[in-house]
């Protein structure tokens, strides 16, 4: 008279029939729910298109556009993807994360058949693409078809940032320089002036902590996955150092300026939370939005989230200024980043059509769409948008100093091996001199193994 164990599912008895019945009921409910809600699925996806006044192809053509997701890039990608998908033409701009973009780009452009026809490019990656002949020079196309594009509305400095070996290989969409952002209300209350040097910035941070109890008012992206190298570049620029000796491929990372730059990096880190090594832009923006931090130095294109009243209670309180320099009288500690679109050389789509699409993606209408979030490269639209951070960024752009990283094909390889070394210097595991020596050696090796 022992109680039976649960019967195996294969036996046909009332319990298993009930179970099958329940399964069927569950499946029906699920399908019904899906069908009902499917009405709205993806309804808002294809918005943000612009007028597409180009010569459409005769036969069905698909164009694939590669670009990472961000509030800065999406307006341009969506403008051309949604606006120009009509009749025979389909333009796809699949969602891609930032880290994946470079990988996908290289995979596509180095293969025999292209997965992507239009490639979004930016400062550190395009020199390699151009050096390998993966992206097409655009000068002829500009001469033939560029008149309607009014490319003179784009600042020549920005156009230059997408040139390689004297040839134009991309058309800029948006740009940004590193500028200083701060809480105007706190600075006013405590009588702090906008800092012009790093020591002033650190002093301001300490004062805010003393007077308001805010634990870590200064938050900078110091993530050794890449941001700390940007910080290093800022400081090196301000001190007048260079990455490479002249026009050669010989690194210059053990120069006195480079060593001093590392020392400054350590000083900066010690003025911030220990967690700064986990900070990338999202973390810093969040801290500013939630009032955990009161000042930072970020690329201007990332700042629009601070002005959104839906995202932060302090949307009205942020002020923007040119970044401080490391020392009195030095250059701004800044960097320049220009994004744009390039045409894949191995694409089988007609280059004329692709150029026209680039024109739409970088055109006036797209720039108006983007101007709410970032600074478009077209000066008219940029200034029309009246972005609070635009004047500071433009002042930096106009200054007569070194901006941005050198445009050499091995920049990416060198950049990637720097980060762990800088991380060790910052945490005090190695001294600045050791760090500089290691960085120099690592850069030399990276360039050699990359085949340059």
């Amino acid at each position: 008279m022992s109680s039976p164990a649960a019967p195996p599912a294969s036996q046909k008895n009332p319990r298993s029939r009930r179970r099958t019945g329940r399964l069927a009921a569950g499946a029906t409910v699920l399908t019904a729910t899906l069908l009902l809600t499917a009405c709205g699925a993806g309804a808002d996806v294809n918005t943000g298109g612009v007028a597409c006044d180009i010569e459409l192809p005769e036969t069905a053509t698909t164009v694939n556009l590669l670009s990472y997701n961000s509030v800065s890039t999406d307006p341009f990608s969506n403008a051309v993807a949604n606006g120009c998908t009509t009749e025979n033409l389909t333009v796809n701009a699949p969602a891609t994360d930032f880290a994946g973009q470079n990988q996908r780009a290289i995979q596509s452009m180095s293969g025999s058949s292209a997965s992507y026809d239009l490639i979004e490019v930016y400062g550190t990656v395009y020199p390699l693409y151009a050096d390998r002949g993966w992206i097409a020079p655009l000068d002829d196309l500009i001469a033939e078809r560029g008149e309607t594009l009014e490319l003179d509305d784009i600042d020549p400095i920005l156009m230059e940032q997408l040139q390689y070996d004297g040839k134009q290989v991309g058309i800029p969409t948006f740009w940004g320089t590193i500028i200083f952002v701060y809480r105007e209300d706190i600075f006013e209350d405590l009588g702090i002036e906008v800092p012009t040097t790093y020591p002033e910035m650190i002093a301001a941070s300490e004062k805010i902590t003393a007077e308001t109890g805010m634990a870590e008012p200064l938050a900078l992206p110091f993530n050794p996955a890449g941001d700390v190298s940007t910080a290093y570049n800022q400081i090196l620029t301000s001190l007048g150092g260079t990455w490479f000796k002249g026009d050669t491929s010989e690194p210059n990372l053990d120069s006195p300026e480079a060593v001093q730059a590392l020392e400054e990096l350590v000083t900066l880190y010690n003025a911030m939370s220990q967690e700064a090594l986990t900070f990338s832009s999202p973390e810093v923006i969040t801290q500013l939005q939630t009032g955990q931090a009161a000042m930072s130095m970020l690329f201007s294109g990332r700042m629009s989230a601070l002005l959104d009243a839906d995202q932060t209670d302090f949307a009205e309180n942020f002020g923007f200024a040119v970044p401080p320099s490391v020392e009195e009288g030095g250059a701004y500690a800044t960097s320049l980043s220009v994004d744009g679109f390039a045409i894949a050389e191995n694409s089988s789509v007609d280059k004329d059509l692709l150029f026209d699409l680039v024109g739409v993606a970088t055109g006036k209408a797209a720039s108006v769409e983007a101007a709410g979030a970032t600074i478009p490269s077209r000066t008219t639209e940029a200034q029309d948008a009246d972005l609070p951070f635009e004047p500071a960024a433009r002042e930096v752009l106009g200054s007569d100093q070194q901006l941005g990283l050198p445009h050499v094909p091995w920049m990416s390889d060198v950049y990637s091996v720097m980060a762990p070394i800088f991380g060790s210097v910052v945490t005090g595991q190695i001294t600045a001199e050791e760090g500089a020596a290691q960085a120099q050696a690592a850069a030399v090796t990276a360039i050699a193994t990359a085949g340059f």
């Binding site: 008279m1 022992s2 109680s3 649960a6 195996p8 599912a9 294969s10 179970r19 399964l23 569950g26 699920l30 809600t37 499917a38 709205g40 699925a41 993806g42 309804a43 808002d44 996806v45 694939n64 990472y68 997701n69 961000s70 509030v71 800065s72 890039t73 796809n92 699949p94 969602a95 891609t96 994360d97 930032f98 994946g100 996908r104 995979q107 293969g111 025999s112 058949s113 997965s115 832009s281 999202p282 923006i285 969040t286 939005q289 939630t290 955990q292 294109g301 990332r302 989230a305 839906d310 995202q311 932060t312 209670d313």
Partner: protein
């Protein structure tokens, strides 16, 4: 007598035995059992809570108004909003990608079982040395890191013109999971007595007929087990799907990872909503299949 005490000591409730032999120690033991059971239930509930805690947190993050979602210290008093779910459903391709992932998952299961079950059966029944060799080879093949196979997969898919198709993705998923499927099913087949095969063949079935008519029906739980793991893989596999898909064949892990914007956390709420939206159907699948899973694994699918 032995049977009565054995029934009692195994903890099952036998009315007859209880009526005959209800002593004070038995009452105390029963109460102690109940306390122990309650205690265990509490501990298990705690573990279940731990298991769910990241998703509970994601849910909270998704329904808080954005300004309060990422404050430090966390905001506990807020009015829930469901706009992030609406944004996920209407503003992104989430629904379409979810459907596509289901399609890929179901196709993978069918192909994996159609290809894998006969092979596992053959490994279990064939007396030669090649069976064990292939099985050990399968284990070795499962040690290959994903990074070693994705580039050749990409080249092959492009070369064959099947890049960014569900076909290529299903083939890749089935191949990647084949070693696991085989190991699982071989153990199960081995538990079915050879006599059944022989009886069927004496009755006039061919080897394949015996397989189809006699063995397969006995294998319900085992097949479901192998099927569920293959299904889960389609929902979980990231690196292979990342390499082989672009516009049309995108699956959930690739889609969700791609939502992460580069600038700020404005997409994080949608990510949180996606996490929650994903946990529910997948847990439901496992929930419905749980008895089969337990029966399949216990029934010998894994008896090495």
């Amino acid at each position: 007598m032995t049977s009565i005490t054995s029934r009692l000591s195994s903890g099952r409730r036998d009315p007859l035995a209880s009526a005959l032999v209800m002593r004070p120690t038995a009452i105390r033991r029963r109460r102690k059992d109940r306390i122990v059971a309650l205690g265990i239930g509490a501990i298990l509930s705690f573990f279940a809570f731990l298991s769910l805690s990241p998703f509970i947190w994601a849910m909270l993050t998704a329904i808080k108004p954005f300004r309060q979602a990422f404050t430090n210290p966390p905001t506990w008093a807020f009015t829930p909003e469901f706009s992030s779910f609406a944004q996920l459903w209407r503003g992104t391709e989430f629904a379409a990608v979810l459907v596509n992932t289901f399609i890929v998952a179901i196709c993978s299961v069918i192909v994996a079982l159609v290809v894998g079950a006969p092979a596992a059966y053959a490994f279990a029944r064939y007396a030669g040395v090649i069976g064990p060799i292939l099985l050990v080879l399968a284990v070795v093949l499962r040690t290959i890191p994903r990074f070693a196979i994705i580039l050749p997969f990409y080249e092959a898919a492009k070369g064959l013109g099947i890049y960014d198709t569900n076909f290529a993705l299903v083939a890749a998923l089935v191949a990647v999971n084949m070693p696991f499927t085989l190991i699982l099913l071989v153990g199960f087949f081995r538990d079915i007595p050879v006599e059944l095969d022989e009886a069927a063949m004496i009755d006039g079935c061919s080897r394949f007929g015996a397989f189809r008519r006699v063995i397969i029906p006995l294998m319900g739980p085992g097949l479901v087990t192998a099927g569920v793991f293959t299904l889960l893989l389609a929902f979980q596999e990231y690196v292979v799907a990342l390499t082989l898909t672009q516009n049309y064949a995108v699956t959930i892990p690739v889609f969700i990872a791609a939502q992460k914007g580069a600038d700020d956390v404005s997409t994080y709420q949608t990510l949180a909503a996606a996490s929650v939206a994903l946990v529910i159907p997948v847990v439901l699948i496992v929930f419905f299949a749980r008895r089969y899973l337990v029966a399949g694994i216990g029934g010998g699918a894994v008896k090495g």
